[in-house]
Symmetry: C2
Subunit: 220 residues, 2 copies
């Protein structure tokens, strides 16, 4: 369900302290970055120690949705309401400056603070899992077999409501000091892109089945 406000509230931990021009709490921009990524890094506190786990995710409305094996102790903790911090980072380019100090990277990132909630209601759970497969292969002509009862039971779905969220991004050229502009050092940006394909059909693939289009919305 989409909320009506256009920005997420600024809280002590989502306030941008350094280089505020690089930060935003704009809901549409945060959604767009989340929709462009495929992997998030989920931070939890486990017995007082930090743990970071890479996970696939989907954004559905104002929820960041995680899933995994119910056997995972840390995912169960997240589903039981343990505080989590989820970060999504897209690397857009390397920024080469005339000075070592002003080297940088172009990127878009989102950090979400919150508490997870396990989704156990069967229809809602199945719908959220559909969002995962639809996201990985949006243009797929033949839908895969849906999860059966045993598979659903083995899978834990956890939603993290987007309540405290902040985005940061850098784009554009290097920002060198005026005194360095005369140096004979190449400066500029090396853009990085994720590209997909060519697809590799599974050995047992039936004739007549069609691979999905390789133009994922999240791949530029």
């Amino acid at each position: 369900m989409e909320s009506q406000t256009t920005t997420f509230p600024v809280t002590p931990r989502t306030r941008i302290r350094r280089m505020p021009a690089r930060g935003t709490h704009d809901r549409a921009e945060i959604h767009a970055i989340l929709d462009a990524g495929l992997v998030c890094h989920v931070g939890l506190v486990d017995d007082g120690q930090p743990v970071v786990i890479p996970m696939a995710y989907a954004r559905v409305g104002d929820d960041l949705v995680l899933h995994g094996a119910r056997a995972s102790r840390l995912l169960r903790a997240a589903g039981a309401g343990a505080p989590v911090c989820c970060a999504v980072t897209l690397l857009d380019g390397l920024v080469l400056a005339r000075s070592a100090f002003h080297h940088s990277v172009n990127y878009r990132s989102v950090v979400v603070y919150g508490r997870g909630q396990a989704v156990e209601e069967p229809e809602r759970k199945a719908a959220l899992l559909d969002a995962f497969t639809a996201r990985i292969a949006p243009g797929r002509p033949d839908p895969p077999r849906p999860a059966n009862a045993k598979e659903l039971a083995a899978t834990l779905v956890v939603r993290v409501p987007l309540v405290e969220a902040v985005a940061k991004r850098r784009s554009g050229p290097p920002l060198d000091d005026a005194g360095d502009m005369g140096l004979a050092v190449w400066a500029g940006v090396v853009p990085l892109h994720v590209v997909a394909g060519p697809v590799v059909p599974d050995a047992g693939c039936l004739p007549g089945t069609t691979p999905p289009a390789v133009h994922w919305p999240h791949i530029r």
Copy 2:
């Protein structure tokens, strides 16, 4: 300094519990994954809450090296020995199965648990910062101006010794159930690659300066 052992020790938190075949503590493989990535996600505990920060990094010997503004409170905490968990994840492909349940991703990841140490000794610090710029642009013909005293003072370099580290990876085709092999659903892998370029010279770039080669070792 390279250690003499070929594997990192298995500890309670680096023991692979699920799908052990996907995990390894092999030092060379962990080094190779770290050398292929550009961004790590650093987890810390801040006032009891998890925080995850995306950061550039370099591997130098058996250290994961972070850097940033000394003004960053969390980086200072890491440099003062707060426990950290650093994760590096490389997404290699989307795995489309005949069933929703067996969808997966191909990836390589490393998780490092440890405590950071600020590096203040000037020569060592400068050498570690050189590793960052060399890593971003290894084939650069004209070296950038090194950091001056003021820039060095504003920069905090934190090394996280690789003591507890574990890698996980998945590659290859989908692993469907035998009963699903007759389904008329395309199955296979959509490989993902990071590609670089074309380079964008900065507007003020002097004639005669040469952009670096676009064949980064960490880009396939």
